[in-house]
Amino acid sequence: MPSEEELYQDHILDHYEDPFHRGSLPTATHAHEDKNPLCGDVVRIELQLDDGGKIVDAFFNGEGCVISQASASMLLEKLQGKSIEDVKQFSAEDMLELYGPRLTPNRQKCCLLSWKVMQSAVHSPLERSGQS
């Protein structure tokens, strides 16, 4: 069992308090939102993809525990500028590794929420009028 000192490492709390790209993205082309039915944590990710499938910009918004929100921040920081192919290649194991501290199965769900949302977001184009 991990101790809470490990779980809440400084760099995780840094992400929680000073997240990477928390907010909305007016130029978003793709977006997805999901929740963890167990606890109600919510994460929404908005992406701007170019024609080549590159993530030009990425923002997230959400509500939930430190793990769900800090992991979203870490994920976006990691995948900003990467391709759809990179997102597909980025596995759940990679996400848990990126987070760092070993998590119990129930807390892994908190950590993987943003990862799940990201995997869907790249396939969820926004309906836009008057744009190509």
């Binding site: 809470e4 308090e17 509500e63």
Partner: protein, 427 residues
């Protein structure tokens, strides 16, 4: 803690009964004594119940109501004795008004399906409340959709009590059933069940009481309430999981068709049909939860030996103590009413700190087990403007010192997650 003086030591149960519960002295978390405050989800079991389970399997086990051999006779006798004890425990007139189910959820679904699908017509109304557990909402949503009935919900007051004025307004000749909890698993509110039943009966409506949270903690008397249906679980009252009880008035259960079909629930089966058995077998298709039911009666023995009124007094003292302690914490919002309107639990939320952080740190650093999440009351949490809360729920073995530990832990969590002007570092 200075507020320790406010607790009336005389009303507390003897600390020695903690020794009945082997798990309380287990080294669950390295170096931390276990402070188990998740009793509203499921309690722990005393040695007396654990032994009863082993005793049946070791000496008396066989399927019930089938063999004429000695073991089947023994297990049948104990199983039926468990039914009689359960009947006396809740003040039922007849043992055959006690149906063993797999739990409160199973009991409510039995009524929703058997009674609901027989008696509800388009335009009929089922009245429930916004503070119900999902298990007293979803079955009614399902049956209402199927039968074209309408589901209505009694709101709560600002302090988390049932809005009885609106309840009276919502009641009408269209109301066929009121499904209500006797105690909210999130707010802790104890509802005025006798009054609710009297008002419902006045318009000809039946009442189902979800008593999962109240039966373990206070005396229940279905006759005094004039209750039509009552549902509760074994695992929230020191018994095993996998068994619960549906109480129903004899005349109602007699008029209802069987819910599940199979063995035991029949009188005669032909290839082209069947005739159902008498009560209670009519509603107990298949091999029932034999050992859980027998062990549940051992739990009833245990609780009755201590006394439900004594348990209630003990928990009221703890909840009052916890409420006062929590009230002094800045930024903490207690869900639900003042202690005199609640029982055995207190849920709370902070503006900035998620319930998961409390549950995690309380566990890892203080050995305190609490529930974090929506506690199967999503509509209520939404109404309160929350996605999650933290819940501390007490039982007969909890002590004031454990409440102190909880309060100490909460203060540590607040400190740990207070904004510190942190900056994310470059990768």
């Amino acid at each position: 803690m200075s507020i320790l003086t406010t607790i009336d030591q005389v009303v507390l149960l003897p600390e020695a009964l903690r020794r009945d519960f082997p798990i309380l002295s287990e080294n669950v978390l390295d170096g931390h004594p276990l402070v188990f405050l998740d009793n509203a989800a499921s309690t722990q079991r005393p040695r007396q119940v654990i032994d009863a389970i082993a005793r049946v399997y070791e000496r008396d086990y066989a399927n019930v109501h089938r063999g004429i051999h000695t073991l089947s006779e023994r297990s049948t006798e104990q199983y039926e004795l468990a039914r009689e004890k359960a009947a006396r425990f809740i003040g039922a007139t007849h043992a055959h008004e006690i149906i063993f189910t797999q739990g409160t959820t199973g009991s409510i679904n039995l009524v929703a399906r058997s009674w609901g699908e027989t008696n509800l017509r388009p335009g009929d109304e089922i009245l429930t409340t916004v503070m119900e557990h999902h298990s007293n909402l979803v079955p009614w949503q399902q049956v209402a959709a199927k039968m074209g009935a309408t589901l209505r919900h009694v709101p709560i007051t600002d302090d988390g009590r049932l809005d009885m004025d609106t309840f009276a307004m919502l009641l009408s000749e269209r109301t066929k059933l009121v499904a209500v909890t006797s105690m909210s698993n999130t707010l802790g509110t104890v509802n005025p069940i006798a009054e609710i039943i009297a008002q419902a009966h006045a318009v000809g409506a039946l009442v189902l009481v979800d008593a999962a949270q109240s039966v373990p903690h206070m005396t229940t008397d279905v006759q005094a309430w004039d209750c039509d249906f009552l549902a509760f679980s074994g695992h929230k009252m020191c018994g095993p999981s996998g068994v619960g009880i549906l109480y129903g008035k004899e005349s109602l259960l007699d008029s209802m068709p069987p819910f599940l079909g199979g063995g035991s629930m029949i009188n005669e089966v032909r290839l082209d049909g069947f005739t159902p058995a008498e009560l209670p077998a009519k509603f107990e298709a298949g091999t029932p939860p034999i050992v859980p039911a027998i062990a549940m009666s051992a739990a009833i023995d245990y609780l009755q030996k201590i006394g439900l009124d004594a348990i209630h007094r003990h928990e009221q003292a703890l909840v009052q103590y916890a409420y006062e302690g929590l009230s002094q914490i800045e930024g903490l919002r207690i869900l639900g009413p003042a202690p005199e309107h609640r029982s055995s639990l207190v849920s709370f939320a902070f503006e900035r700190i998620h319930a998961h952080e409390f549950a995690q740190v309380l566990n890892d650093r203080f050995g305190v087990a609490v529930r974090a999440g929506h506690h199967c009351t999503q509509p209520l949490h939404k109404l309160l403007g929350l996605s999650a809360s933290t819940r501390a729920s007490f039982y007969l073995y909890n002590r004031p010192e454990e409440v102190d530990r909880l309060l100490e832990g909460i203060a540590a969590v607040q400190k740990m997650f207070a904004p510190q002007g942190r900056k994310r570092r470059a990768q």
